[in-house]
């Protein structure tokens, strides 16, 4: 089983990113569950979402405590949340950032999703949309395939800029 924990702030699309990832994995022929942890919902508050991907049906409903992958859509959260908590020894961190995380004990990847959203004009109510670009980065990492990502995005959104932004993140992420 491959377990992903996504950190974001309320309104940034972390929950939708989790749902898109589960849908893409499902289109890859895997079993997947996406499960947000809702606190007292409010914009800007730290939010965490969980995705499990497996070849067998998944019966676990509780939170993920030892993820294989941690995705951080907003690095300012790292001042208040220990995003690396429980990360497996061979786990990976994917940051929405133009810079890597200095001194990170785990494998740390980074891609500027905010920059990609702005360059693709993927902005709603002044906020760059991160949930579709991040799927491109996850495809590059091999968590899901790019065709399934494109299909999943098209199932949930009609605006093709989402697909283009995912493609841009796929190109930009350096493994």
């Amino acid at each position: 089983m491959y377990e992903v924990r996504i950190h974001s702030r309320g309104g940034q699309g972390g929950v939708t990113a989790a749902r898109l990832l589960a849908l893409a994995a499902f289109r890859d022929g895997k079993y997947a569950t996406a499960c947000p942890f809702y606190g007292a919902e409010r914009r800007g508050a730290p939010v965490v979402s969980f995705v499990r991907i497996d070849d067998e049906p998944i019966k676990i409903y509780s939170q993920i405590h030892e993820p294989d992958l941690v995705v951080v859509l907003d690095t300012s959260i790292m001042d208040v949340v220990d995003v690396l908590q429980g990360l497996k020894g061979d786990g990976t961190v994917l940051l929405n950032s133009a810079h890597t995380l200095e001194g990170c004990a785990a494998t740390c990847l980074h891609v500027d999703l905010t920059g990609i959203a702005l360059a693709t004009d993927l902005v709603i109510a002044g906020s760059p949309i991160l949930n579709t670009p991040v799927l491109g980065a996850l495809a590059k990492m091999g968590v899901v395939t790019l065709p399934s990502v494109q299909q999943a995005i098209r199932e949930m959104f009609t605006d093709e800029r989402n697909v283009r932004a995912a493609g841009a993140a796929y190109e930009e992420l350096k493994i």
Binding site: A22, A32, A34, C35, I60, Y61
Partner: protein, 370 residues
């Protein structure tokens, strides 16, 4: 069609496929997505139904009662405080023998204000005369909702059915979902005692002492008959659509020395704990209780039993633990866990089995011995 969806979306999709003529509902977390999705189906023309956005849950159930007795299939959804606010009419729906189907997204009751999973809301409606089923997966939320209409509307039953799903842990999780074309699985709605709207007249519902008593007995008689009807409907569903259900879902129980009983998502997660325990050589099995009313007969003779209760009767004990005790005479290890959404993992469930003390009660994370 095969897709992935949340538990809420699954319920709404089953309602679309059951084609009720009236849906009356009021939003409440974590149920809101159900009524929003149904409203979208109606707006898009995917469901031809009169959608009544009422001003309270009490009115939601009242509108369903009016429509149902006028000869129309009806649905509503609620949760927690919403369910309690309609409580008076929940009794009325059963007493008037109306086959209304309601989804209840199980949620704790305030104060303190808490929107997470707990079964107390449903347990508080225990003696209303409604049949109650608790589901454990997104697929089951869809299947059970569809079957609920057929069970409720069967003339041997004619009682309302409540489909319970855990708040957030099932209502908001995405899992795979295969929808079906119900075809003639659901016959046209027919209520033998429907009012004649073409010939309006008034009558008083005042019922004398002896007649009232007979009506109550009739509810119980139909509830007993519902056991067979539920089995019939679940068997027909399995034959037509390939997924089978029963009053309980048993997992590796055949040679088990100890059996875990739980409802909803905890009942599914228990299966992971069972695999873990089996790998350690512990002969454990799990029994997920699906039907709460009518409460099924359980075959547990000669085993240790661990009951996980997500609801409690203050001053008396775990609701399911006491039910199991009354039904079987077995003294279970009663674990009270998951109230207000408290996280309970499969590792915790495995611990309950390892540390079991039959006849005792334990509040998980609060005290070791109570």
């Amino acid at each position: 069609m095969l897709t992935i969806a949340t538990g809420n979306k699954a319920v709404a999709t089953a309602v679309r496929d059951a084609k009720p003529g009236v849906v009356a509902a009021y939003p409440i977390t974590p149920q809101t997505e159900i009524v929003e999705q149904i409203a979208e189906f109606v707006t898009a023309g995917d469901l031809v139904s009169q959608y009544i956005p009422v001003e309270s849950e009490h009115s939601a159930m009242t509108a369903c009662i009016g429509a149902s007795v006028a000869g129309v299939r009806t649905f509503t959804a609620t949760s927690s405080h919403g369910l309690l606010y309609m409580h008076e009419m929940v009794h009325w729906a059963a007493g008037a023998r109306l086959p209304i189907v309601m989804a209840n997204v199980n949620r704790a009751l305030g104060p303190g204000w808490n929107t997470w999973a707990e079964h107390t809301d449903a347990f508080s409606q225990r003696d209303t005369g409604w049949l109650q089923v608790f589901v454990g997966t997104v697929q089951e939320a869809y299947d059970a909702t569809l079957m609920a209409f057929k069970i409720a509307e069967d003339e041997r039953v004619l009682l309302p059915v409540m489909v319970n799903l855990d708040g957030f842990s099932l209502s908001h999780i995405m899992q795979s979902l295969e929808t079906v074309d119900p075809g003639d699985f659901l016959p046209e709605y027919h209520l033998p005692h429907a009012i004649d709207t073409e010939n309006p007249c008034g009558y008083g519902p005042m019922t004398g002492l002896n007649d009232y008593f007979r009506f109550r007995w009739d509810i119980e008689r139909s509830t007993r008959d519902s056991v067979g009807v539920i089995a019939e409907v679940e068997r027909e569903f399995a034959e037509r659509f390939g997924r089978s259900y029963g009053p309980t879902e048993e997992y590796r129980c055949e040679d088990a020395d100890v059996i875990v009983i739980a409802m909803g998502t905890l009942g599914k997660e228990a299966e992971v704990a069972i695999d873990l325990l089996r790998s350690e050589g512990v002969k454990a099995g799990s029994m997920r209780l699906r039907w709460f009313r009518p409460f099924p007969d359980l075959d547990l003779a000669g085993r240790d039993v661990v009951v996980i209760d997500r609801g409690y009767s203050f001053g008396f004990g775990g609701v399911i633990a006491n039910s199991v005790r009354a039904k079987t005479g077995i003294e279970p290890y009663s674990v009270i866990a998951g109230l207000g959404g408290q996280e309970v993992t499969y590792n915790d469930i495995a611990d309950f089995v390892r540390d079991r003390r039959p006849g005792e009660e334990m509040w998980f994370g609060v005290s070791e011995d109570v």
